[in-house]
């Protein structure tokens, strides 16, 4: 009996510690979001107040947000990011599923070599190819356009790998049956295989979209005029040139506008996103 009592006390203490730790972590994770949110509603005077204000005393409603829109072409930034991310996602999903299907279900000389070649390109960090691609686009005068952001990103080695692993598990009999019914090779891909790839396509699509949306290094190299900027670049420019101390309230409003739509999207797509991330971590 005594042993049980001691165990219970130990258990309660460790449970308390565990929950305490989790609570602290939760606060740390959430605090920056809270801070950005409330600061975006502060008048300029409250931003530099000491001690720092955690509940705005005179919230200005949406005035800061309106001012952000009048100072920077946020809508253009959003539009550019959306166009690029959507184009890149569609292209990568299509090319990855098509190539993944071929590597999964067709045998031909050199298929193994080609697949491994494609896989090895995953090891190449972007910074190495950034300069040559920059020089290439410079020579063709295609810099400073959305094309410069889209065209280098039409295929994905990771995507091909993922789709191949997934499609391998689709029964080949389905394809044979389609052939018997007179379906063309491309038709098999388009009508039979692709519809089966739902989960893999959405996981990959979310990953690709997020990666393109958030891309910063390549856009700051390739773009020059503000009208072509994507969201991260535009945001950074706003932060760099407005002397952040006195425009923090505006900057936070801009940041919130940047973060919130993505978060909402994420909360809806959360399960698939996490599935996608963990698919990369475990062998099929």
């Amino acid at each position: 009996m005594q042993v049980n009592v001691i165990r219970n006390q130990g258990e309660t203490l460790s449970k308390l510690l565990k929950w305490g730790f989790l609570l602290i972590i939760a606060i740390i994770m959430l605090f920056p979001f809270y801070w950005a949110f409330i600061t975006s509603f502060k008048p300029q005077a409250e931003v530099v107040a000491k001690p720092p204000i955690f509940f705005p005393k005179n919230p200005v409603g949406l005035a800061n947000y309106k001012e952000v829109f009048s100072r920077i072409p946020l809508v253009t930034y959003y539009k550019n990011s959306l166009i690029v991310a959507a184009a890149v996602t569609v292209a990568k999903l299509f090319s990855s599923s098509l190539a993944g299907y071929i590597f999964a279900k067709y045998k031909f000389p050199g298929s193994r070599f080609l697949f491994i070649l494609i896989l090895t390109t995953m090891m190449i960090p972007f910074q190495v190819i950034a300069i040559p691609v920059y020089l290439l686009f410079n020579e063709f005068q295609l810099l400073d356009s959305l094309w410069a952001l889209i065209v280098p990103n039409l295929v994905s080695a990771f995507g091909i790998f993922l789709m191949r692993q997934f499609i391998i598990s689709i029964p080949t009999e389905l394809m044979d049956a389609a052939r018997i019914d007179g379906c063309s090779e491309f038709g098999i891909y388009w009508r039979i295989v692709l519809p089966q790839c739902g989960p893999a396509l959405s996981a990959l699509g979310i990953l690709v979209f997020m990666h393109s949306w958030d891309d910063f290094f390549w856009p700051i190299l390739a773009l020059e005029t503000k009208g072509n900027f994507t969201l991260p670049f535009g945001l950074h420019t706003f932060g760099a040139f407005t002397g952040f101390t006195y425009y923090t309230h505006l900057l936070m409003a801009a940041a919130v506008l940047s973060i919130v739509p993505v978060l909402i999207f994420f909360l809806f797509a959360q399960r698939q996103f996490i599935e996608g991330m963990t698919m990369t971590g475990l062998k099929g």
């Binding site: 959430l30 950005a36 960090p125 952040f244 993505v262 959360q270 996490i274 971590g281």
Partner: protein, 307 residues
């Protein structure tokens, strides 16, 4: 010689699927994909090597070979070695802290019941889902000594006021702290996925035999998580070596060269001084570094790596 397979058709009787139809499909599908890979991934690697061997300034028209001058410059340049040092410090600190915390959090969160489990997972994953630049700007304000709340909050736990981004050492610590905050969620999620592969019977048997939570953590969970841990450490290392966005926005490599990393160094020489040759050399050195790590990892995982 064509291989024919005679397959009963529907209303048009015998339909012949020739090997050449398949071949055509394969060629037409793979050709554009391969062309894009070659154009934007494989060819650039070779071109990067070539550019790194020349005097290549964007303004000049001629780019003669310069006998590895860019590489000797890089290895003799103090700023290069400072960048290398900072990158390595950053990588080791970030990966070890995030892995350790990620492991502990993964085990804790994994043991929760719904809805707490899902809730904590979402909370921990939220920073991961946020746009890097946007949240970096938020942290720039948090770290600000003028407008930020951190010094005020830290006073309650007895920590002195810090000049987060303005002082050399604290700047690096702040950057590492931010990156840990941002990346923890992925580690937790991946490690939790690894935890699901541990058979429950094993853990139950251990607790029946009187093992404490801590013992079962140390002797069962951790050893079985080793492959996942290694994956997380290696991929974390590779991406940490390439860190750029948050440093660019938060400190620009400063103060001075305190937080300057390899990619910042590369960026400055390539796109502020337009010394493409030198930047390419730095990029290639980084590339080799990453290659070495990747190859070590792949050889280690060779038994588990199936084609």
């Amino acid at each position: 010689m064509r291989k024919l397979s005679l397959i009963p058709g529907t209303w048009n009787n015998w339909r012949i699927t020739t090997q050449s139809q398949k071949t055509l499909f394969i060629l037409m599908s793979l050709f554009p994909v391969l062309a894009l890979f070659i154009l934007f991934t494989i060819y650039p690697v070779f071109r990067a090597l070539d550019v790194s061997l020349r005097d290549w300034n964007l303004i000049e028209k001629v780019h003669p070979y310069n006998d590895f001058a860019n590489y000797t410059w890089a290895f003799k340049d103090d700023t290069f070695w400072i960048s290398m040092k900072n990158t390595i410090i950053f990588t080791i600190a970030h990966v070890s802290i995030t892995t350790l915390m990620g492991l502990i959090l993964a085990v804790f969160i994994f043991s929760l019941k719904q809805p707490w489990k899902g809730l904590m997972t979402t909370i921990v994953f939220l920073p991961v889902m946020t746009s890097l630049i946007a949240i970096s700007l938020v942290f720039r304000d948090l770290f600000s000594t003028v407008t930020g709340p951190l010094n005020y909050l830290f006073r309650f736990v007895g920590l002195g006021p810090y000049n987060y981004l303005g002082d050399g050492t604290t700047a690096m610590v702040s950057l590492i702290g931010f990156t840990v905050w941002k990346g923890l969620g992925i580690y937790v999620v991946i490690l939790m996925a690894g935890l699901t592969t541990i058979p429950r019977e094993l853990l139950e048997a251990a607790s029946i035999d009187g093992a404490s939570e801590f013992q079962s953590f140390l002797k069962i969970k951790v050893p079985l998580l080793v492959p996942t841990l290694i994956y997380v450490i290696v991929t974390g290392t590779i991406s940490s070596l390439q860190v750029f966005g948050q440093i660019f926005v938060l400190t620009g490599g400063g103060p001075g060269t305190a937080t300057r990393t390899l990619v910042i160094h590369l960026y400055e020489h390539g796109f502020q001084f337009f010394e493409m040759g030198r930047a390419s050399a730095v990029a290639f050195i980084l590339f080799v570094l990453i290659m070495i790590i990747t190859i070590i990892y792949l050889r280690f995982m060779r038994e588990q790596f199936e084609y």
